[in-house]
Symmetry: C2
């Protein structure tokens, strides 16, 4: 393994100059800079994480705290983050976060002290805690927010356009000819629930159709059981919907169960769509049409921001939102509304 000394020798400069080049510091002649860069490349040099960590008291790892580690969403995100870190030559240290423990700041501090990570990605619901953000500022740990409820001035955030995605998903159903479409919304505390519901309504407004009345929107709390009973109520109502758009795949799976219980077949009797594209979407049958969250891209952007390869735009508070493009995944859970149920 080449060290900074080898590079210095090869370039004919002092180690300090090499260090300056590495860290993009000022006061280095362009010609010198080039010479050092060449030497680094030819020796295939990469700086020692340990030495840096010792000098600076920080590691170059990226930290991430989970709060709901069982969820498929977290699992997918985790995978995307590992991949993104790996691609960027960094690595990920994950920790468990206990939402029920009141001492959020204490938990974060313990994690920082133990891992010495120099940067973090903050996922929901931690990304909305002012205390946590203040704590990171104090510790001068760089951070990115992932899908936060609202922008924080001067802090970069990566996210997707929940509202637009929900609108597109609804339009997909509308395109099939569905008119009575119900929505099972997520947990009221999550901004995503609100945005997805808005997108759902946008689709009707845009086409000049009367919006769905409130009886067609049920709360599912992002919870299977809750969504199950909501779906049963919806499907057994006097004028049942011909399509149901659930705000998460897990809740969509619950709609499948409800439909199964009532002897309705998918997509002949009822069309169903979800949101997230977690593994269950492909496990259930027929496979679920859903919105794929661009977690790979979001993770890549997050790592880029933390590695300074992507400068946060600083024009205004909103502009350092990086919005990754989503995708509608069309599978087999949607069809035209059946005549016998529309009458």
């Amino acid at each position: 393994m080449a060290t900074i000394i080898d590079v210095a020798k090869q370039a004919g400069v002092s180690i300090k100059t090499v260090s300056r080049v590495m860290n993009n510091q000022a006061n280095v002649r362009d010609s010198t800079r080039r010479r050092v860069r060449d030497a680094m490349a030819s020796l295939n040099y990469s700086p020692s994480d340990a030495a840096r960590q010792m000098r600076l008291g920080k590691s170059t790892a990226i930290g991430m705290l989970y709060s709901d580690p069982g969820s498929s969403y977290q699992s997918r995100l985790n995978q995307s983050m590992i991949q993104a870190c790996s691609d960027a030559g960094r690595y990920l240290v994950v920790g468990l976060f206990n939402e029920d423990d009141d001492d959020w700041v204490g938990q974060l501090q313990a994690f920082l002290a133990r891992t010495k990570v120099d940067s973090m990605v903050l996922v929901p619901p931690m990304c909305d805690s002012e205390n946590l953000k203040a704590c990171l500022n104090d510790a001068s740990v760089k951070y990115v927010l992932l899908s936060p409820s609202s922008p924080t001035p001067g802090v970069s955030a990566v996210t997707m356009d929940d509202r637009k995605a929900a609108r597109e998903m609804t339009e997909h159903l509308l395109d099939y000819g569905h008119e009575r479409i119900a929505h099972i919304a997520g947990h009221p505390d999550h901004v995503a629930s609100f945005l997805r519901r808005q997108g759902f309504e946008d689709a009707f407004t845009e086409r000049g159709m009367p919006g769905p009345d409130s009886s067609q929107v049920a709360s599912g709390n992002f919870d299977f059981r809750c969504a199950l009973s909501a779906a049963e109520k919806l499907l057994t109502s006097p004028n049942p919907p011909t399509a149901i758009f659930a705000a998460s795949d897990d809740m969509a799976a619950a709609v499948y169960m409800a439909a199964g219980k009532l002897g309705l077949s998918i997509p002949e009797d009822i069309s169903i769509t979800g949101f997230d594209d977690v593994p269950i979407a492909q496990t259930i049958w027929p496979a679920l049409t859903t919105v794929a969250q661009p977690l790979d891209n979001m993770a890549k952007d997050a790592v880029r921001v933390l590695s300074n390869s992507l400068a946060p735009t600083t024009k205004d508070a909103n502009s350092n939102f990086l919005v990754a493009p989503h995708k509608i995944i069309t599978r087999e859970s949607c069809g035209v509304p059946s005549a016998n149920r529309r009458g």
Copy 2:
């Protein structure tokens, strides 16, 4: 943060002696050892990972490579490992492993070089590769095998008793009065598939019953689609089973779908059990009776072994298998065989 120098001062010894005590080296008087230990405790000292890493060229992190990161099993294992590491004051570095890339050793070496982990847990299928194990030996990286196919002399392994668990799961079905029980086996390359099938047959043998004929055992490859068609074939056969034991929860979910398609209700018409206890077991309805793999305990044992708190028993090659106790999780997917289907 206290350093080794502070401890040395407080104990009235040289830093080297403190180092000796920390690393359990010889040539330290018991009285001195005690004095140093007290000083460490009173100063709440913990050694700097970075300094160690610099001196030794290794970090104290535990590494783990995923190959099938989407799977619920890996996700649960990951969670258990994070928790176990956290409890032991260590941390986990996870990486992606590409099974399809032929250069397994190269991938491992790259991971070791980048992360400098001093120990690893090897999960299936990597834990069965002699090349990988040789590579770790060469690099003198400590490692534990998690659920390997066969023991490796001198190497600790943590595992569960697949065969016994499968027997118990089958007995559970037998206890309900089922006589025609089918089994959907896993991928033939996995030893777990073989052991679970053996356990399935053990249950019959032990009760002096005729073993199930081969038409009652189908191969599901641990794959949803594959299990789906196997289940359909089984359930539409002339003398269909009254219960199906699938070798994984995902495959059990496929059985649910097959039953739904055929208008069979669970557990009235057909009893179903799974294996693994991954999230889907509780998501599907009715909730699945299954075997809970003791991943928390296995992870804890693995970390203990790697931290030397648990010496591998070295009496013989088989005895350094740590077998963690499993549990049968009884939910709502089993019932007595229905009369109308038995005649």
